[in-house]
Symmetry: C2
Subunit: 313 residues, 2 copies
């Protein structure tokens, strides 16, 4: 029996993104359902199962034609598909694969951490196509990461592999990161971090800057950089120093072929690399100097692509 | 046909360590031959092949009884057994597996970087027994590293995986590392680095210290630490801060179960952990705080064990 279809599911805190793909990774359909986090998130998996079954009915797809369902979860998931915790969903520890398989009458299920799964998606159909050793860096509200080695997600021993947002990059930080530590990469390289760096720079001097005339955000900072605003350029330099040095450390440890940079901040485009690459090249182990930098291309769809790919591997 | 034997070979700059093991990893014999680095190291592989064949004759072992030969090399070796460079041996890029297999009449050969291979050895029969996700840290003249994920060596895309001695940990270093960069972990956590930190501390003040009365080395520093010497304790604290923070970053990226600390510096024993763990715990991603620390137990034999294990995997 041919398996012609695969479902990719990306569970977020407010919506569950879902995709139906053919085995070559072409999207057949794409939709969302709300994430019902009440009651410890008990309804989330039944909602997903119901939506998948409704879609199969709608498209007249038999169970035998479906290779399976891949699911990305916002929290640590180990190599056996055990979710250890997903605070935003209300989930504690449980066997995701087993529960969802049960709800889907034995259909194959694979689970992974959402950042890792998105990394797999970018490798398969996004900015990392053609590579097998990849580090995906998501610069959003926080900084997330996913590491792919020889084509496979590096889960880590407790599902915390690739948690690069919380590597220590600054000894003298006085404000704490959301994680409780001080000086995490996320405090400088996330959208929130860039805003914080900009506000600090604005307060530290009364120099002129377009950033004084409106909202300060990662977007307005990089718009100002492109317009030649000196204070914004100084902020971008700080951002780039932390991120460039952090990625240099990651390269020396992992020795990937490519970094794929995604998330909201990456909408600034190639200009990011002007600030990331010089500190990267200055500090990275010489044997890793040629690591490629690319932008992610799948945006919010990286998760459903990667989730589908998990099942096909 | 049963394969009862396996050879493990660890090629160093002055001697080649060799071991004959049974399939359970028991040492049957252990010996060394000189490393002849002249002529671009052309004689090294023929010398190894000859020594293996002589040993087989001596022990009356038939070729069919040998599972193969594993070789650790001091330089990057990729997943296909291609040596990219081994400066200390005079070697450039060549196909180690193919050449040595040819010299051994078709016997199976596996090759790997010596630090990675030693990590595998410590997992198999040393300080990391029972674990499958391990980072071995070798604190010797330099700082080396080997990363094992799900029981397998993480080679990296160009064989530079686990080169943790050259991760950047200090922005304000004025003396360059052997690699040409400034502020590499190796400049503070190697035997040479500890000596340098101690000499700096001795020069920075005229405080009393037993280190003023003789040779300054990693050994004398940690002997002085054990004797309560305050200046030596300050040096150990600096060492521990760099190494603890560095290992914290590695833990956040790799999420291993255990760090296995070896090399000459590790002879100081468990006292090292008193200085490494506090900065580690302070800065590491919270989900990785429980990473285990252990001492390596195989010493210079880790390489031959790991080399043998490569063949058995």
């Amino acid at each position: 029996m041919m398996t012609n279809y695969v479902f990719g599911v990306d569970v977020g805190g407010t919506t569950v993104k879902m995709g139906l793909f053919d085995a070559d990774g072409n999207v057949i359909d794409k939709w969302e359902i709300p994430t019902r986090t009440e009651d410890g998130g008990k309804k989330i998996l039944p909602d997903i199962a119901e939506s998948i079954q409704a879609k199969m009915e709608e498209k007249k797809i038999a169970a035998e034609e479906v290779a399976g369902v891949g699911v990305g979860v916002p929290g640590p998931v180990d190599g056996n598909g055990i979710v250890h915790k997903a605070v935003n969903l209300g989930w504690g520890q449980f066997d995701l694969k087993k529960e969802l398989t049960g709800l889907l009458h034995g259909m194959r299920v694979e689970g992974g951490n959402d950042a890792n799964v998105a990394a797999l998606g970018e490798m398969w159909k996004g900015g990392g196509q053609g590579y097998q050793n990849l580090v995906a860096v998501t610069l959003g509200t926080g900084v997330g990461g996913g590491i792919i080695i020889n084509g496979e997600i590096m889960t880590g021993s407790t599902g915390a592999g690739g948690e690069i947002g919380h590597i220590h990059v600054e000894d003298h930080e006085t404000e704490s990161c959301g994680c409780g530590n001080f000086g995490c990469l996320e405090e400088y390289a996330s959208a929130t971090g860039i805003t914080r760096l900009a506000n600090r720079a604005l307060q530290a001097s009364d120099r002129d800057s377009v950033l004084r005339n409106g909202e300060v955000s990662a977007k307005t900072v990089f718009d100002a950089v492109k317009a030649g605003d000196e204070l914004a350029i100084e902020v971008a330099r700080k951002f780039g120093e932390y991120l460039g040095k952090g990625l240099g450390v990651i390269a020396g440890i992992i020795n990937p072929e490519i970094f794929v940079i995604g998330g909201g901040v990456s909408k600034a485009g190639e200009v990011l690399f002007d600030y990331i690459k010089p500190p990267f090249e200055k500090t990275v182990f010489q044997g890793c100097k040629d690591t490629v930098f690319a932008l992610a291309t799948l945006g919010n769809d990286a998760g459903i692509y990667g989730a589908a790919k998990m099942v096909l591997d």
